[in-house]
């Protein structure tokens, strides 16, 4: 075990993946010599050479297009998009190409080796274009997997699993926690399962569900609620596609209540899918409406960032509304 922050855990996972499998190749804007603007790829060029860790020209649609081609050739590209906000120029390559590559070819070809890493989320005074949480934009796309880790330990295990998964994975990294989240991380190689939610706190009164950086917020809210005698079950979804319907539904069948929180705007965020599925699967168990505590339906703001964020007191108040419905 060592203490690592989230960035170090990611760097460590990439290092292990590259060391063990020379099919793993890392690239993106500023990823090479410099090691990425957040330094997630530090020292990888030094260790594995320019051919396996390199800068690309500044063109996201090209980065993912190139990665698709490389993956279809049997390599395992780990492509970095510098900020989640800049993944949209690559949307066509991801949604029309990556996601459909295996299906459309009848499994003649696939890009299962591809992993797309990108920092997401707010709370860093980044305004519209350094704060977005775009996971829901991809969640409507069969063929993709979407993973979001909440801390360094999870990040390393999930990233290693993503790189080795036989399917393309978008790996969203909570950049607010890059340096802020520090924890024990095993030095050895390990993987955590994709598609399995993680019950981080058991409880009986209400289920709180989130992913990534928002886990901190709902855990705080759970603590607050605890003082009022409300016993929260806290679940980290970890993987948005596929998502662990079974764990979430069983939890709600037990608690009778569900609250989902994400930073992205409310409307058609992934919370919508969860609520829609759970109301169907656990209809008779629900004692109050499923609540969503999310970003407002506005572009991510700067001056009013604090007001915009679905913070712990907002979650806490919603818990009480759910309980006292």
């Amino acid at each position: 075990m060592s203490q690592m922050n989230l960035l170090q855990a990611i760097n460590n996972a990439l290092d292990i993946a590259m060391e063990k499998d020379d099919k793993v190749v890392c690239f993106g804007e500023d990823v090479g010599f410099f090691g990425g603007v957040f330094r997630a790829t530090s020292h990888l060029q030094e260790k594995y050479g320019r051919a396996r860790c390199f800068n690309t020209p500044l063109v996201e649609q090209g980065i993912i297009g190139f990665a698709n081609g490389l993956a279809s050739q049997g390599h395992k590209p780990v492509a970095e998009i510098q900020f989640g906000d800049y993944i949209f120029p690559a949307f066509d390559q991801i949604v029309n190409e990556t996601a459909k590559f295996r299906y459309r070819s009848g499994n003649e070809f696939d890009v299962g080796g591809l992993t797309i890493r990108t920092p997401y989320g707010g709370g860093i005074k980044g305004g519209h274009y350094h704060s977005q949480s775009p996971e829901a934009y991809f969640a409507h796309t069969p063929g993709l997997k979407i993973v979001v880790p909440r801390n360094p330990h999870q990040a390393k295990g999930l990233l290693l699993a993503s790189i080795r998964d036989e399917n393309p994975v978008i790996f969203f990294e909570p950049k607010r926690l890059y340096r802020a989240s520090v924890g024990d991380v095993p030095e050895e190689d390990y993987e955590l399962p994709i598609g399995k939610a993680d019950v981080v706190r058991e409880g009986s009164d209400i289920t709180l569900l989130a992913w990534g950086a928002q886990m901190e917020i709902i855990s705080d809210a759970a603590e607050k609620a605890d003082k009022d005698g409300i016993d929260c079950e806290v679940i980290d979804l970890r993987s948005i596609l596929p998502w662990d319907i079974e764990t979430v539904v069983s939890s709600v069948q037990k608690t009778g209540r569900l609250l989902i929180s994400h930073e992205a705007p409310l409307t058609n965020g992934f919370g919508a899918e969860i609520a829609a599925t759970v109301q169907e699967e656990a209809f008779l168990s629900l004692e109050s409406p499923i609540m969503r505590v999310c970003g407002l339906d506005v572009p991510y703001p700067l001056a009013h960032e604090t007001e915009y964020m679905p913070d712990a007191t907002k979650v806490y108040e919603a818990i009480k509304r759910s309980i006292h419905y």
Partner: protein
Amino acid sequence: MSQSTVHKPELMDENLLSIPTFKLLKQDGTLYQGASAPDFSEDFAVKVYQDLVFTRVLDERMINAQRQGRIPFYLASLGEEAASVGSAAALSDHDMIFAQYREQGALRLRGFTAQQFMDQCFSNELDLGKGRQMPIHYGSKALNYMTISSPLATQIPQAAGYAYGQKLAGLDAVTICYFGEGAASEGDFHAGVNMAAVLNCPTLFLCRNNGYAISTPADEQFKGDGVASRGIGYGIKTIRVDGNDLLAMYEATRIARDYALENNAPVLIEAMSYRLGAHSTSDDPTGYRSKDEEAKWAKKDPVLRYKHWLTKQGWWDDDKEKALYAEYREDILSQMKAAEKRPVPTLDHLIEDVYDQPSDQLRKQLSELKQHIRQYPDNYPKTAGRLDA
């Protein structure tokens, strides 16, 4: 970067680059003065011709099949056969082909059989693509021919990445990427060619400039000296070729391939040709261009031009010609009849290959669907009888 300086303000002329067209063969099958033909053996030369003819017969037959309502869609390469067959003939079988959709000639050259073409176009259970895409979206791992995808130009950066992978793996192979002059307007073109240049990828970018993107003529697609002039802007070797001249296409591709492989560098090839037929069976070109223009190009028929050359070599005659056409017509027709009788893939394939393994959610959706089909079998005649196959 250029180190020269000037002290008078002057805009550089936009017509500064004027890229000549490389030609070997005249329409009558003789060579231009100073031109020399590539060193084809008789067998090879004849095989190439066979593939040209196969492509033409295939296109003719399938357009009819679409008119008869047997398939929903088709797209022909009439007039452009030499561009894809000639370039593909200069490659090694290990080279990867990323095509746009009008390069059935290249696929045939690689060995795709009449049956394989038919099974794809009829979306039946033997289609390598499992009936999931529209007709003409061929692909074959065995033949190193990437499955076609409809969104234009997406294959261009992919071809750069594929070639990078070949280089990493130490393979003695390049990737060729075909696209139309229309597709070359997409952002993915810029992305892919520039990345290949900077990242030293052995990729041959072959632009089929056939004058139109559906109804849009090339002069509403770009200004300047065609697509070739952009190559110089990316700092890569470039050549413009008469796309109706099979020998020139072969030669240009051959030297481009040699260069790419030796230098780990991309090459841009612009093949000048003309789409003699409609864009696809959904299109009618009389709405946007003249019969005169079409007639002018019909006279430059690339298949006929090559046949003249072949005949002049003493390698071809009318009897062979008749026999060949008869053979291919028969082959294609009989395969068509067989293909249209084959059932669609079983319903289980609906949820396969979305991921390497179907997710629980998908299995559930499939089982609900099967239950529904059992209840209303008449509504789903293609699958209802074979749900448990």
